[in-house]
Amino acid sequence: MASQIHAAYLDPILTRYQHNPHHLLQILREAQEYFGYIHTDAMGYLSQQLSLPRAKIAGVAGFYSFLSDRPQGEYRVLFSDNITDRMLGSVDLMTQFCAQLWVEAGKVSEDGLLSVATTSCTGLCDQGPAMLVNNIAINRLTPERTTAIAELIRERVPVSAWPALFFAIEDNIQRKDILLNGEFQSGTALAALLQCGDEAILREIQVSKLRGRGGAGFSTGKKWEFCRDAQGDAHYVVCNADEGEPGTFKDRVLLNRYADQVFEGMTLCARVIGAKLGFLYLRGEYRYLLAHLQVVLQQRRSQNLLGKSILGQADFDFDIDIHLGAGAYVCGEESALIESLEGKRGTPRNRPPFPVTNGYLNQPTVVNNVETFAAASLIALKGGEWYASIGTAVSSGTKILSVSGDCARPGLYEYPFGVTVGQVLADCGAQDTQAVQISGASGICLAPAEFNRQIAFEDIPTAGALMVFDQSRDMFEVARNFVHFFAHESCGFCTPCRVGTSLLANMMDKLAQGHGSPYDFAEIEKLNTLLQSTSHCGLGHAACNPVLDTIAKFRPAYQKRLIHHEFVPAFDLDHALLQARQMTGRDDSGAHLERSDESR
């Protein structure tokens, strides 16, 4: 009986995904969306239908933050917990919200009505504080807005009937250059391709010196060529829209307004490397973009820009599937992303081999950033030489920056490479700036003396995040927020990152709680070195950046927390008695360690 309930909604999902175990994550995500959580009977049914061990399904479900094997609230409220949300008051808003609804953060309310928790940066830093309600984004939270939301939840109004204004996500494009300015017409880049041939298009991409926009900056032309030349049963194109780096939101806007150009870039790549299938891996936080993106794909199919015999070319078949993530930053790492696409836990692979030879289903695969594909379309239209003439000698073209934090005009800023940080700060109306964090938590923290440095691969490479902190901000708290982010997002595969990021978070908390001494400071530095040298992937390597950078440049922020000269344990004996005090209903001096000493 029980399993029939689950079969009823799982069967259509399974049919849609052809009972393909590689689509396990998508199946689980949809099951959760329908039922609210992954019921144990649902897991059993999926195990049987997909011929997968139950433990494997449970292991995948247990990896992703947005999947749960226990009942969640009817309303699942997640407050975005990036430092920019905090700077805009998210912590107080959440406290107020919890108090209004008599619910404890991190738990499900007793009546099962709602659960409240925090989540990693939702990519709405330019219009925060933000939250996700049942995976749909709400921006610009204020005490009034959260109060209204609390009221709607109390009255059990379905989220679909909430005021549309809550969900009005803005693009906030502040500065346009060649990419954001170009009025791209669907199919024009493909027409150019068919006119001059895919070999010529590859050459244009190479001449353009386009480099990957995800931050690492590998040559796009080389990547496409390596992949094309790699032997395989099939080739694949993957667009990495798992934009999880705290402070980054450019892909959100590109997909909202320039999706056609992105999909066309993927199609160009498919033609060059000989792929028949592509994936857009969209982060779960951008679930609300899915319907729009499906419409764009459908339009392209009806325009014969996707599907069979594209633009009448008999040998040109290509289509794009959208896969959604489910709350795992590490899946932005390309090999973890591919694991996730294959329906597995998002653990980064051992490399080499790289995805260009052994990617999706072990076949040659190009994984490029959203912005890279959009740029590729532009290059196909306007030529590689033109593109290479913009920017600097080694960093051609433009870069879209996601600007947030303490500035008058947060949003997207597109500049030719080579722009100085100071120029960006002036343009966005930042005043009294103490620090700028570039390329998110894993990036680099700059002090004012470095604001003349350039955004370029040869100076400061970036995936696009630029968070501004004015003099009122505590850079220790900024670093502490990032450290907690990494501890939360570590995949747990390798020892140094799994244990080290949590140790680091605990040490930063110890300092924050007033138990810090120079000893702890030295420990933090040692731990960071270990993370940097022994971690499995970029997440672990980068997890130490915010701390090492802020220590080097904002040492007083740490110094003032090293209040003890000698080592003090993080373990607080008096606090340890808290539970006993609660259980016995006592709070007199005899129930406290220190106070009882004083009273004697």
Partner: protein, 239 residues
């Protein structure tokens, strides 16, 4: 293949011959040179998760179990800097779980303990996490003490790749990663686990334990009581 035809790399100054497809640790072990490791096992595809086997290859740190040997590489392993880092990794593994060696029936046969002795780890150094990990004693012949799990996933791999089952799997993420078994109840007794499985005999620490033989061999006469782990022959890898 003739030994003198093999190409070599140097490991701490010593030439190590290797054949194509061998990783650094595989070639080193074949040559009888010990590189500390926990998740690596000669019978399984290298995994690269514990990072104990980290070496310096031409000055750059990498896991030696997953790095393919190439001619003329200069590899450093037994140096203070790396041993200090390995000790810190071991300390992390100790504080992450609940390891009470004096009362553990695997004491003396445990690779984690033996490696800690090898690297002269004198204290856990870091603050303990003291995770709450219930023991699974449901199976008539085997006990699972998750407190000692170091997430090397050897049992996962053995069950999947050798036994053709899926008794074990990893779930959770980050510091909440944990071992689970393939049963709705979550109990070992409800899986198809068998004492003849490879997975039953692969655990390098004291998670998967045969019942009623705990102290059959007295402490003091166990595998690593006789000789340190670095001096053990490879054939005894799978105790």
């Amino acid at each position: 293949m003739n030994q003198d035809k093999l190409e070599t790399f140097t490991l701490d100054g010593q030439p190590i011959p290797f054949s194509a497809g061998q990783t650094i640790i595989q070639a080193a072990m074949a040559a009888g040179v010990y590189i500390p490791h926990l998740c690596f096992h000669p019978e399984f595809k290298p995994h690269g998760s514990c990072k104990l086997c980290t070496v310096k290859v031409n000055g750059r740190q990498t896991a030696s179990c997953t790095y393919f040997a190439q001619a003329n590489l200069v590899v450093e392993s037994n140096i203070t800097e790396l041993n200090d880092e390995r000790r810190a990794l071991l300390q992390m593994l100790f504080v992450e779980g609940n390891h009470f060696c004096p009362s553990c029936e695997k004491s003396g046969d445990c690779q984690l303990q033996a490696t800690a002795y090898e690297l002269k780890m004198m204290s856990p150094h870091f603050d303990h996490f003291f995770p709450d990990r219930p023991v699974d004693a449901t199976h008539p012949d085997y006990l699972l003490d998750f407190n000692r799990c170091i997430l090397c996933s050897l049992c996962v791999r053995a069950s999947r790749d050798v036994d053709g089952k899926a008794v074990f799997a990893l779930s959770g993420r980050g510091i909440n990663s944990h071992l689970i078994v393939n049963a709705e109840s979550g109990n070992l007794v409800d899986t198809d686990f068998s004492s003849t499985d490879k997975a039953a005999h692969i655990c390098p620490v004291g998670v998967i334990l045969k019942k009623r033989v705990g102290f059959a061999v007295p402490i003091g006469q166990r595998r690593f009581d006789a000789q340190p782990i670095s001096a053990q022959p490879l054939s005894k890898e799978d105790v």
